[in-house]
């Protein structure tokens, strides 16, 4: 089935089997490997992408289900060499350790900034509560989210 969608600002048409998952289209077909496969059951958040501005798990979304949608992955955030404010905030606060969960964390915070520009710490925690990091704590990630919210 052909799926027409916008990916990181560009119109795309993908002719994929009906059962193909978005994470496989992104990683294997489009070679966008910033979206990570980890738990594969919608719990860890490593595969978080935006569909029409809302966070979803690419691991459990059919590619066909983004037909007509605007999809943004972590690769679509930076403007050339200039990092997106959320990415820059993660750098400024050293909010990554091994970095595997970071793309999902960043996308979750981007979704937060879009949906709740005035988010307080409780709201930040709500958005990060289902994005799992197994190396560091969440303090620096929350600080990064706070900086991003101030700057956006």
């Amino acid at each position: 089935m052909e799926t027409e969608f916008t990916l990181n600002g560009h119109a795309e048409v993908v002719d994929a089997p009906d059962h193909e998952l978005l994470i496989d289209t992104l990683r294997a077909r489009m070679r966008l490997t910033g979206t990570k496969r980890s738990c594969d059951v919608e719990i860890c958040g490593a595969c978080t992408v935006l569909r029409d501005g809302q966070a979803i798990s690419a691991c459990t979304t059919l590619t066909a289900d983004v037909d007509g949608a605007d999809v943004v992955t972590v690769e679509g955030l930076a403007d050339g060499d200039e990092l997106h404010p959320v990415q820059q905030a993660f750098v400024d606060h050293s909010a990554a350790q091994c970095g595997f969960c970071t793309p999902g964390m960043v996308m979750s915070v981007v979704a937060l900034c879009l949906e709740y520009p005035d988010a307080d710490e409780e709201r930040i925690k709500e958005y990060l509560s289902s994005t799992l990091c197994r190396c560091t704590g969440y303090v620096k990630i929350i600080e990064a989210a706070q900086q991003a919210l101030e700057q956006m």
């Binding site: 089935m1 089997p17 009906d18 059962h19 998952l21 496989d24 594969d40 059951v41 919608e42 719990i43 958040g45 978080t48 569909r51 809302q54 966070a55 979803i56 798990s57 459990t60 979304t61 059919l62 066909a64 289900d65 979750s108 979704a111 709500e126 958005y127 509560s129 289902s130």
Partner: protein
């Protein structure tokens, strides 16, 4: 994990969807958010040859708020309910419950109808909606029918849904203005481990326990105690809950489960907030 191949169909209206479900029979399943179905398929528990995508059917996405009821299309996402201002105003218990369902990504895709049709015993909405005596509208080859949710849910992962039948909407009758509604859950994982829903009205009280049994468990003894004490005799209601859970053949750890259920009832009563006018 990957899935075995299937063919995706995209009907634009209910009748076409019902016909497709009829045509492919046991080999077809309705597909909405996919948050439950695709997981099952990835894990190899289901291998349907045809997915009937209901997301292009406008009827399934209607959401209407009236003074006396909420009418929620089966294809309305958890997130839409969670962020609905009027529902937050009138029924804060439903919104705080929806905010606790799984996680934001799941709530952005998953639907209320999907949750109820999946009939996972550890469902948050099922418990509160059973307490509120919600009804569900179903449409199938024989036409439409309406069932109380309490009857629609049959057991673990089992519903009254007939072959080729589709849940179209959920109607939630609202208790009178001023009645209090509460939901409290203990969740060791994303899904509730045990939960209680209470409706505290002069004329009508409800106490329901969720997640401990295959489908939400009514505790009329606890409801009667609350009704006769204007919602104040929480200790007796908690004791009645404990007795009711112990009376159910629940297996190992009965005492602990009964204790948890009684505490959930206490907390649901403490959390209960008045239903406000629109």
């Amino acid at each position: 994990m990957s899935m075995s191949p299937f063919e995706l169909h995209r009907p634009d209206d209910l009748l076409s969807a019902v016909r497709l479900l009829e045509k492919y029979g046991d080999d077809a399943v309705l597909h909405m958010g996919g948050t439950e179905l695709l997981l099952l398929m990835k894990l190899g528990f289901a291998q349907p040859g045809h997915l009937i995508d209901g997301k292009r059917i406008a009827d399934l996405k209607r959401l209407e708020v009236a003074d006396d009821r909420l009418t929620i299309g089966a294809g309305v996402t958890h997130r839409r309910i969670e962020r609905h201002r009027d529902i937050a105003h009138m029924m804060p218990a439903l919104v705080s419950l929806e905010k606790a369902v799984a996680n934001i990504r799941v709530r952005n895709a998953g639907t209320l109808g999907g949750n109820l049709c999946f009939a996972e015993p550890h469902s948050d909405p099922a418990t509160l909606l059973a307490a509120l005596d919600a009804t569900v509208d179903l449409v199938g080859p024989q036409g439409g029918r309406t069932l109380p949710l309490r009857e629609f849910l049959i057991g673990a992962f089992a519903t009254a849904l007939a072959p080729a039948e589709i849940m179209t909407r959920i109607t939630v009758p609202l208790p009178r203005v001023g009645a209090r509604v509460g939901y409290h859950r203990l969740a060791l994982k994303e899904r509730p481990t045990v939960a209680a829903a209470v409706v505290l009205d002069d004329r009508r009280c409800e106490v329901w326990i969720g997640a401990l049994t295959a489908k939400p468990l009514p505790v009329p003894e606890a409801a009667a105690v609350l009704a006769s004490s204007a919602g104040r005799d929480v200790t007796a209601a908690a004791e009645a809950t404990r007795a009711a859970v112990l009376a159910v053949d629940a297996g190992e750890g009965d005492d602990y489960r009964a204790q948890l259920a009684s505490v959930m009832v206490r907390r649901a009563v403490a959390d209960a907030q008045p239903r406000l006018a629109l």
